[in-house]
């Protein structure tokens, strides 16, 4: 079973997060202070850390830095009320693997935790295949079965991103950060519009849908059964 360590000093917030992840089948440990969190993380049984930035005793980033310094590479997601761009950069530089500003949707947190746990190995694949979809990364061509898809460069990258994360939810914010590399979140329907276009190109009439909306939060690509 996947084990999370949540280091969060706000009891109510910690309760919400741990409860939510337990409900989704995770085993969750919780620490309320920096030093406690560091000790638990060093014990080494967690698969992923969710670390609040502002912690009593030892700052969240300091906890991650201390872990990295002793060679513990457990993926860490930083939660913070400080949502400036610089803050985000600082969080990632300290050794965090992802950064999420408060307030956030629990579903967003879950999608990012999932993404970190199943981070695609950056294998030098040249062709990605999901169900009837085939993406040739060298020739830059995309096929659904025998039908070639006419994709714009951005759509190609969007599809590649989704195909590397089959069955995982990609949130709008994740797509903006990773596919567009924008460090801001534009109007929420922008990604939907782009995704809608891609979806229309993927699915010809009568074909089963490959890309679907995850209610209120993002998208998922799944191979048809």
């Amino acid at each position: 079973m996947t084990r999370l360590l949540v280091i969060e000093d706000d009891a109510e917030m910690a309760e919400e997060v741990t409860g939510y992840f337990r409900g989704r089948g995770y085993e969750v440990d919780c620490a309320m202070t920096g030093p406690d969190g560091l000790a638990l993380a060093q014990a080494g049984s967690a698969d992923l850390l969710v670390v609040d930035r502002m912690l009593p005793g030892l700052d969240g980033l300091a906890v991650i830095e201390a872990l990295r310094a002793v060679g513990i590479r457990t993926p860490a997601l930083v939660l913070s009320a400080l949502d400036g761009v610089d803050e985000r950069v600082r969080g990632l530089r300290a050794g965090g693997d992802d950064y999420l500003g408060k307030p956030f949707a629990l579903a967003e947190l879950a999608a990012r935790v999932e993404a970190l746990l199943r981070r695609p190995a950056n294998e030098p694949e040249t062709v990605l295949r999901v169900g009837p979809l085939e993406l040739d990364l060298v020739a830059r061509t995309a096929w659904r079965g025998k039908r070639q898809l006419d994709l714009l460069p951005r759509e190609f990258r969007l599809l590649e991103y989704m195909m590397r994360r089959v069955g995982q939810t990609a949130t709008r914010a994740m797509l903006f950060e990773d596919v567009w590399s924008y460090r801001f979140t534009p109007k929420s329907n922008l990604v939907d519009v782009h995704m809608g276009r891609l979806r229309r190109k993927l699915d010809a009439a009568g074909e089963p849908e490959l890309l679907s909306n995850v209610r209120g939060i993002g998208f998922v690509l799944e191979a048809p059964l």
């Binding site: 534009p186 109007k187 922008l190 782009h194 809608g196 209120g216």
Partner: protein
């Protein structure tokens, strides 16, 4: 005027300066008069000395038998009663002349000295002595000749000069003190008026201004500058007040919706699906409220100016291409044609500006978003770039209702929305964010266009 008033008056800068200048002036005048006195006195003394020396020499050089007569003649010719003289026998007895006894303090060296002679033969004031310039010399026959000349004239010179001094310096000094006091009092009154005005401002009356007298003196200039600052502050405070009202208002709307939805969900939802639908709608409203809060914080972050440190050369054409790519599908969905016009469409790099690429992209994105939102379907939105000497102009033009001329300044304020746009969704912060980004970069934002149709231009300096 009480003692305290007086102390306050004499304590003013104006008064002290006047006092210092008056003192300096008096010292100068005293020195000048002293010099004049000294010069005049020396001249007068030399003249008197000349008289007695010449006469004593001429008597001494005359035949001995003539000496007494010559002396008597000299004394007789004295119309002003200023001449004294006597001839003493070698034993000290007076031979002739109006000095009765041999003066004790006058050495018989034939040189002129200050001396006291007396008692005098024709003394009108009893037996007091007279102070003279005198000379004593031995005659060849062994008699002693003593001549004296009254120096009252010297005292008169002194008196005249002192009187002149009194007549000029004392009134001048008094006049300057009075002038200083008047000036200081006037300044004090103006300062007091300023003080009162500031007091009222501090107590919250931001419409109060410092008094300006129209004399364009220093105090007036300072007052005018402060008034300019107060105008700015008043406007800012008004703006902030407007902003907090707007934030409160704009937040209350979605929060009220959340409340009613939760309430209805609790009371009316019969199935889990119904409850979930209600929760989703409530979450949507909360997100809307959060988006407003985030936007406000974000504008604050941009306005703070910290990001200026990370400025780098940015290719504006690239920003425009990215923005177009990002918004093209949105435009298409609304049946709006999004056109991009670049000066050199094929060039790999267009005009470069110094800035934050993400923020510029976000700002251009906001402008496009607005344009697409407000332009009617089946019209176009044009995003273009014009190079001019020293600057690049980035222009977004649409066929929407536009912004009335009177409202063009206000749309840049946070939360300001034209009445016509009230019905269109949005936080009302899009243009404010653009304005914040533009001012962070030191660019200028120009809103133009005829109704219908709106153009927003950003004039970017080229480094």
């Amino acid at each position: 005027m009480t003692r305290d008033d007086l102390r306050a008056l004499t304590g003013t800068m104006t008064f002290r300066w006047t006092l210092a200048i008056a003192t300096g002036f008096t010292a100068m005048a005293l020195m000048l008069f002293a010099f004049i006195y000294w010069q005049t006195a020396v001249r007068e003394r030399n003249r008197i000395d000349g008289i007695v020396l010449t006469e004593s020499r001429s008597i001494a050089e005359a035949p001995a038998a003539d000496a007494a007569r010559r002396l008597e003649d000299w004394l007789l010719e004295d119309l002003h009663e200023v001449r004294y003289g006597a001839l003493f026998a070698p034993d000290g007895a007076r031979v002739t002349g109006n000095i009765l006894t041999l003066p004790s303090g006058l050495s018989p060296d034939g040189l002129a000295h200050r001396a006291e002679v007396g008692p005098l033969a024709r003394d009108r004031d009893g037996d007091t002595n007279e102070v003279v310039r005198g000379v004593a010399r031995w005659l060849p026959d062994g008699r002693l000749l003593v001549l004296g000349y009254d120096i009252d004239a010297l005292d008169e010179v002194q008196e005249v000069i002192l009187r002149a001094l009194g007549l000029s310096v004392v009134p001048a000094l008094l006049l300057s003190l009075v002038a200083g006091a008047v000036l200081a009092r006037r300044g004090q009154r103006r300062i007091a008026a300023v003080h009162e005005a500031v007091g009222r401002i501090v107590h919250g009356d931001l419409r109060e201004r410092l008094p300006v007298h129209g004399t364009s003196d220093n105090l007036d200039k300072v007052a005018a500058a402060v008034n300019g600052m107060l105008d700015q502050i008043e406007q800012l405070v008004e703006e902030v007040r407007g902003v907090s009202d707007s934030i409160a208002h704009d937040l209350r709307t979605p929060l009220t919706r959340v409340r009613t939805r939760l309430e209805r969900g609790r009371d009316e939802a019969r199935t889990r699906a119904e409850f979930q639908a209600m929760a989703d709608r409530a979450i949507g409203s909360v997100d809307q409220a959060l988006a407003i809060v985030s936007a406000v914080l974000r504008i604050g972050e941009i306005e703070h100016g910290r990001r200026r440190a990370a400025f780098a050369p940015v290719d504006l054409a690239g920003v425009l291409r990215d923005a177009t790519e990002l918004y093209e599908p949105v435009a298409e969905e609304k049946a709006v044609v999004l056109r991009l016009q670049l000066p050199e469409p094929g060039a790999t790099a267009g005009p470069m500006v110094s800035g934050d690429r993400d923020l510029l992209l976000e700002a251009v994105g906001n402008l496009l978003d607005n344009a697409i939102k407000f332009t009617p379907p089946d019209t176009d939105v044009t995003l273009s770039l014009h190079t001019q000497p020293g600057e690049v102009r980035l222009c977004v033009a649409d066929h929407g209702p536009g912004i009335p001329v009177a409202e063009r300044d206000r749309v840049l304020q946070r939360f300001y929305r034209t009445e016509k746009s009230r019905t269109v969704a949005g936080s009302g912060l899009g243009l404010s964010l653009v304005a914040a980004v533009v001012s962070l970069h030191g660019f200028r934002l120009l809103i133009g266009g005829k109704e219908p149709g709106c153009t927003v231009e950003v004039a970017c300096r080229i480094p």
